[in-house]
C-alpha cells in the first residue's frame, strides 16, 4: 500500500468515531461552561475535571474492552440475567475502582493545592463531590456500556470497535453532568449543616 492508500483508509476508519465523540465533547463543554458558578463556589474543582473525566474513560473503557473480549471468547452470553457472576464481578470492580480513583484524585488535589498555596475548598466537600459523581456516573456508564456492547454484538457488530467511541462520548457527557449534580447536592447538604 502507498502512503496515500494507508492515509485514506485510516482517515475513513476514524472519522465517524471522532465525529461522535465531538458531539459528546461539545455537550460536556456546554455543561461545563454552564457550571461556572459551581466551579467558583468550589475552588479546586476545575483542577479535578481532567482526572475525573479520564477516570471514567479508563475504567469504563477497560470494562467495555473486557466484556468485548469475553464475548469473542464465548466466556459470557450477550444478555443481562443478573445471575452472571463474572459480569457482576467486572461491573462491581469497575464501580469500586472508579469511586476509589476519584476519591484519590480529590485528596491529592486538595493537598497539592494547599501546598501550592492556592485557594481550595474544604477536603470533605471535594471528596464528597468526587464520591457522589463517581458513583452516579459509574452506575449509568456501566448500564450504557454493557447494554450497548451486548446490543451491538447481537446485531453482528464487532464489540471492539463500538466500545471506544461509546465510552468516550457517554463518559464525557455523563462525567460532567453528574459532576454538576454532585456539586449541587454536596453544596446543598453542606449548607444544611
Amino acid at each position: 500500500m502507498t502512503v496515500r492508500d494507508v492515509a485514506v483508509e485510516a482517515y475513513k476508519e476514524a472519522l465517524p468515531a471522532l465525529a461522535a465523540s465531538l458531539v459528546g465533547g461539545l455537550v460536556a463543554g456546554v455543561v461545563l461552561g454552564g457550571m461556572r458558578a459551581e466551579l467558583r463556589a468550589v475552588p479546586g474543582l476545575l483542577v479535578l475535571v481532567p482526572a475525573l473525566l479520564a477516570t471514567r474513560g479508563n475504567v469504563y473503557g477497560s470494562l467495555g474492552a473486557r466484556i468485548a473480549t469475553a464475548l469473542h471468547q464465548g466466556l459470557i452470553e450477550p444478555r443481562v440475567t443478573g445471575g452472571d457472576e463474572r459480569l457482576r464481578a467486572a461491573a462491581t470492580a469497575a464501580l469500586a475502582n472508579g469511586v476509589l480513583t476519584s476519591t484519590f484524585a480529590a485528596v491529592v488535589a486538595f493537598f497539592l493545592l494547599t501546598f501550592l498555596g492556592s485557594r481550595v475548598a474544604p477536603l470533605p466537600i471535594l471528596v464528597g463531590v468526587a464520591i457522589v459523581a463517581g458513583l452516579l456516573s459509574g452506575i449509568v456508564l456501566t448500564v450504557v456500556v454493557v447494554s450497548v456492547v451486548f446490543a451491538g454484538y447481537r446485531r453482528g457488530r464487532n464489540p471492539d470497535t463500538i466500545v471506544g467511541p461509546v465510552v468516550t462520548t457517554t463518559g464525557d457527557v455523563f462525567g460532567i453532568l453528574f459532576l454538576l449534580i454532585a456539586v449541587r447536592t454536596v453544596l446543598a447538604v453542606a449548607g444544611v449543616f
Binding site: G25, G29, A54
Partner: protein, 186 residues
C-alpha cells in the same frame, strides 16, 4: 495473561495504573486551574476544554490501535520511510484539520445559544481550535510512535501499554496546548 474475573483480581490489575494516571491528569488539572480566570471570562474557551481533551485523546488512541495492529500483523517497520507510519501520520493531521474547525464553530455556537456570550469572535474561537488541533495531531503522532517503539524495544504488547499511555498523555497535552494557544491568541 488474562485477568481472572473477580473484583479482587481486576482491582489488583487496574488500580495501580489508575492511580498513576490520576497523578498525571492532576498535572493537567493544575494547568487548567492556572488559567481559570481566562476560562471564566471567555466561556467559549471553557466549552472547548472537554472536546479538545477528548479529541486529542481519540486521535492518539485511534493511531495507537492501528499501529498496534500493524505491529502484530508484522507490517510495521520503524523506518522513517515506512509507508504505514507515514500514511497514519498524514491521516492523523488530516483528521485534526477536518474536525477542529467544526469543534471551534460548535463551541462558539453552543456558547451563544446557551449563555448569549460572544466575548470571543467566531474567527478567534475557530483559530484557537484549529491551531490547538494541528499542534495536538503532530504531538499525538510523536507520542504514539515513540510509545509504540518503546513497547517494541522492551518486548511489551502495545495493546496493553501504548493505548492507555497515549490516551492519557494526549489528554494532558490537550490542556497544555489549549493553554499555550489561548495565551498566544486570546
Amino acid at each position: 495473561m488474562p485477568t481472572e474475573w473477580t473484583v479482587r483480581a481486576i482491582t489488583r490489575a487496574m488500580l495501580p495504573v489508575l492511580l498513576v494516571l490520576t497523578l498525571v491528569e492532576l498535572g493537567s488539572g493544575l494547568v487548567l486551574g492556572s488559567f481559570e480566570a481566562q476560562l471564566f471570562r471567555y466561556p467559549s474557551l471553557l466549552v472547548l476544554v472537554p472536546v479538545t481533551i477528548g479529541t486529542a485523546g481519540n486521535l492518539g488512541s485511534v493511531l495507537a490501535a492501528r499501529l498496534s495492529t500493524s505491529f502484530h500483523l508484522g507490517t510495521l517497520s520503524f523506518s522513517p520511510r515506512d509507508d504505514e507510519l507515514a500514511g497514519n501520520a498524514v491521516a492523523t493531521v488530516a483528521l485534526a484539520v477536518t474536525v477542529f474547525p467544526v469543534i471551534g464553530v460548535g463551541a462558539w455556537v453552543a456558547t451563544l445559544l446557551v449563555s448569549g456570550d460572544t466575548s470571543l469572535a467566531l474567527q478567534k474561537v475557530v483559530l484557537v481550535a484549529l491551531s490547538s488541533g494541528i499542534s495536538l495531531a503532530v504531538l499525538a503522532v510523536v507520542v504514539t510512535f515513540s510509545a509504540t517503539y518503546v513497547a517494541y524495544r522492551f518486548g511489551l504488547d502495545p495493546d496493553d501499554v501504548v493505548i492507555p499511555v497515549v490516551t492519557n498523555v494526549c489528554d494532558v497535552l490537550g490542556v497544555v496546548v489549549l493553554f499555550g494557544v489561548a495565551q498566544a491568541l486570546v
